[in-house]
């Protein structure tokens, strides 16, 4: 009995130490998902005959992703960095598995995972300037040099470019999410560093879902039929406006942004999410796959879920650094 009492006591103190807005935000996400689960449970009875298995899987996976990310954010920067290093690894492995085509590049694939470890090592060590230049400059030069040493020149340029694209999107860009956790408590943040990350993830995923829902409900005019046949102008614009409103009204709860900075983030982030989505769609179409894997039931691969985040994360990070943070 005492043990249970101890445990709840610890849990209570642990939660009490967290910023209030962060807890409220996480509770809000849980409520939203609860409503979605309830709708998904009732739908088959209201409109029988259709299959709702995909929707059910999607929502179950959302619960899993929310539990993982919320747990990491509550535990702090170490856990968040470890989780994002793992997400980067899964995304990079998916990307390299689909995109690399020369068997001579096996050592370069191994080196790419090494670069991932080093990049996240800079986040752990809190070395921002090292991180900034490591992949865009040193890996950009070093990996192709290694590939030249391997000696296969046929398809060399395309392969070197493939590696760089994969490392920048899957590692460098996603790493900025983890680096946001290193903003020190001395900066006046309304919901702590975890609040910054929480709001980036919320806005990005909300934008994905909002574009999807607007498209499903009102979509008529196709926006990019040759790249992403299911995307429509109605989905894009509806998602843009809804997400911009979310950022404008809820942003100040989690971020130190206000005025012009907040307006710019609200205006640009939804478009960046859309751009990340269609860019990855173009790559998948080029390769000839619909999903990058089946790692997340109902969603596809990790890269299918994180495609918009690879664009929104660096954008959000740099706008935040420009308008509100002293650390970066």
């Amino acid at each position: 009995m005492d043990f249970v009492g101890d445990l709840t006591g610890h849990a209570g103190r642990f939660l009490a130490a967290q910023p209030r807005p962060l807890l409220a935000g996480l509770a809000g996400v849980v409520v939203l998902l609860g409503v979605a689960s309830a709708i998904a449970a009732v739908l088959p009875r209201l409109k029988p005959g259709k299959s709702y298995e995909e929707l059910r899987l999607r929502i179950v996976s959302w619960w899993g992703m929310v539990a993982l990310l919320a747990g990491a954010l509550l535990l702090g920067w170490q856990a968040t960095t470890a989780v994002f290093a793992f997400i980067s690894f899964l995304a990079l492995r998916e990307f390299l598995s689909l995109a690399v085509r020369r068997r001579e590049d096996r050592p370069a694939i191994l080196a790419a995972y090494g670069c991932l470890l080093a990049a996240y090592g800079f986040i752990f060590a809190d070395r921002y300037m090292f991180y900034l230049v490591f992949i865009p400059v040193w890996v950009f030069l070093g990996l192709p040099a290694l590939m030249a040493l391997i000696g296969q020149t046929k398809g060399y340029l395309a392969s070197a470019a493939t590696f760089h694209w994969g490392l920048v999107t899957c590692v460098y860009n996603l790493g900025f999410v983890a680096f946001l956790m290193r903003v020190p408590p001395s900066e006046n943040l309304p919901a702590g560093a975890a609040g910054l990350v929480f709001f980036l993830l919320l806005a990005t995923e909300f934008n994905d879902v909002a574009q999807y829902v607007w498209g499903k409900l009102f979509g008529r005019r196709k926006i990019l039929p040759s790249v992403s046949p299911n995307k429509t102008w109605e989905g894009f614009l509806g998602g843009w406006i809804t997400t911009a409103a979310l950022i404008w009204f809820v942003g100040p709860v989690f971020t130190p942004l206000s005025g012009l900075g907040l307006a710019i983030v609200a205006f640009v982030l939804p478009a960046a999410g859309f751009a990340g989505d269609v860019t990855m769609s173009a790559i998948k179409r080029d390769i000839g796959v619909k999903d990058t894997s089946h790692a997340i039931p109902g969603h596809g691969g990790v890269l299918d879920r994180a495609d918009s985040l690879t664009f929104t994360a660096p954008l959000y990070f740099h706008l935040m650094a420009l308008f509100a943070l002293d650390r970066f």
Partner: protein
């Protein structure tokens, strides 16, 4: 020993396989959970065996016995012990099989596999007999041993499996594995039709049909 094997498979082999390959399985519900049953898969890498041992639910993994060449896996005592007790192989004497074909004499090289099936275990066979070269993902000639097992156990389901990409993680001749996603596609059982020829044709068709559904493997010597 059984417990050690179970723990090694679940606590070491499974996380290792997930890390190296992602183990992207489709048709998992078609995996047989009790024997006698036969699984026939293509073979490009040692990773194939690791992967198959890792995708079975814990309650069935103890029953899975990969058929493996005795000349290769039992050649020295350490590897032999590991092969028998951890991987749980049923040995197939390839060299004897060759001699038997040459001399027309009949020593039963499949006896251990048959005994495993009789004991209600699940036997994993690679009908190509050896690993392909991994450069192309073409399937080699299928050997007929699997048909003889099916003939001996006509009610045991024969499940075709296509493993895509294992030859990139650890190709034949390479010593350092590289993490890359592998897809495992599990098909519907192939029924024993009473004759070996048509059965082998049906099995081959089934495996190639699974290969068609696999994600593209854009991996070649000539880009």
């Amino acid at each position: 020993m059984r417990l050690l094997r179970f723990l090694l498979l679940v606590l070491v082999a499974r996380p290792l396989a997930l890390f190296m390959t992602g183990a992207d399985v489709s048709g998992r519900e078609r995996l047989p959970l009790k024997g006698p049953a036969i699984i026939a898969a293509n073979h490009a890498s040692h990773v194939d065996t690791l992967l198959m041992l890792s995708i079975f639910p814990s309650r069935a993994v103890s029953k899975l016995r990969p058929a493996a060449a005795a000349d290769y896996f039992l050649r020295d005592p350490v590897i032999g012990w590991f092969s028998r007790h951890v991987i749980g192989i049923v040995p197939v004497a390839r060299s004897k099989a060759g001699r038997r074909a040459a001399s027309g004499e009949s020593e039963d090289v499949l006896a251990p596999a048959r005994a495993a099936l009789a004991a209600g275990e699940i036997v994993l066979v690679f009908p190509e007999g050896t690993r392909g070269d991994g450069a192309s993902d073409a399937m080699g000639q299928l050997k007929g041993g699997v048909a003889r097992l099916a003939e001996a156990f006509p009610d045991a389901p024969v499940i075709p499996v296509w493993i895509q990409g294992a030859g990139r993680v650890l190709p034949k001749g390479a010593s350092v594995p590289v993490p890359l996603n592998c897809a495992v596609l599990v098909g519907e059982p192939v029924a024993w039709t009473g004759r070996r020829g048509p059965f082998m044709d049906a099995l081959r068709e089934a495996m190639l049909a699974l290969k068609e559904q696999a994600p593209p493997l854009r991996w070649s010597d000539e880009p």
